[in-house]
Symmetry: C2
Amino acid sequence: MSEPTPATRSIVVERTMPHPPEKIWRALTVSSLISEGLMQNDFEARAGATFTFRAKPMGDWNGIVHCEVTTFEPPRRLVYTWKGGSVQDAGYGFALDSVVEWTLTPVPGGTRVRMEHSGFGPQNDSAYAAMSGGWPGGLERLERVAAERA
Amino acid sequence: MSEPTPATRSIVVERTMPHPPEKIWRALTVSSLISEGLMQNDFEARAGATFTFRAKPMGDWNGIVHCEVTTFEPPRRLVYTWKGGSVQDAGYGFALDSVVEWTLTPVPGGTRVRMEHSGFGPQNDSAYAAMSGGWPGGLERLERVAAERA
């Protein structure tokens, strides 16, 4: 029998926002709004599109995240792959071969927003720690963009 | 409109184990096996049962986790509440009012085991950090117990 795969970890952040799903969907899928809430990007709003996020370069990593939209179901479900990092950064690993999944569920008074970032292997421990700390603020900014700009 | 709820975070760890779901289910639901793999406990294998885990006391917290089995569907899905901690421990908060959900899915050659520990609020940041680091080792021990003892 083959060796079992090592464990992978996910970061899940959930937040109820007092806005309809359509408004949050725009904040998640209009490139200029994504830049305000999450990160600089050249997102294209269709399944199959490839795009990049631009983060702050860190060590040997140029800060570019390579992504592909794998699910695009307005206004409920958005999934994209998320690959980045460098093998030179201890703990970051090349690549962080991961997936980000957004799920919007209508609830009384608003929308339950769930973000799951999955696929962190043992070699991605520092990325996991950094992004665990970063995603809650991302959802906070997303809510503000949805409220003010979408 | 009421204030939106703050974000909560979850820890998700997934691992494919080269054993059938029934074997892993035993490691998850037989009290003596749970003690070997995860923590000391007085688990009872039925929906509605209340039980405790006993962790190492920390600061003002006596180390007792109060739990209730809310879903018991052998050999696929086990959910229990997980309440513990003390308001005296900065960042831990009283209580850590959270939920642990185990999902076993048969895959070729074994079982995909998914553990989701959800409900960490902003007041539970240090518990989140500690348990993010702890759960992957828990699944590793669970696999060993399933292999050798279940």
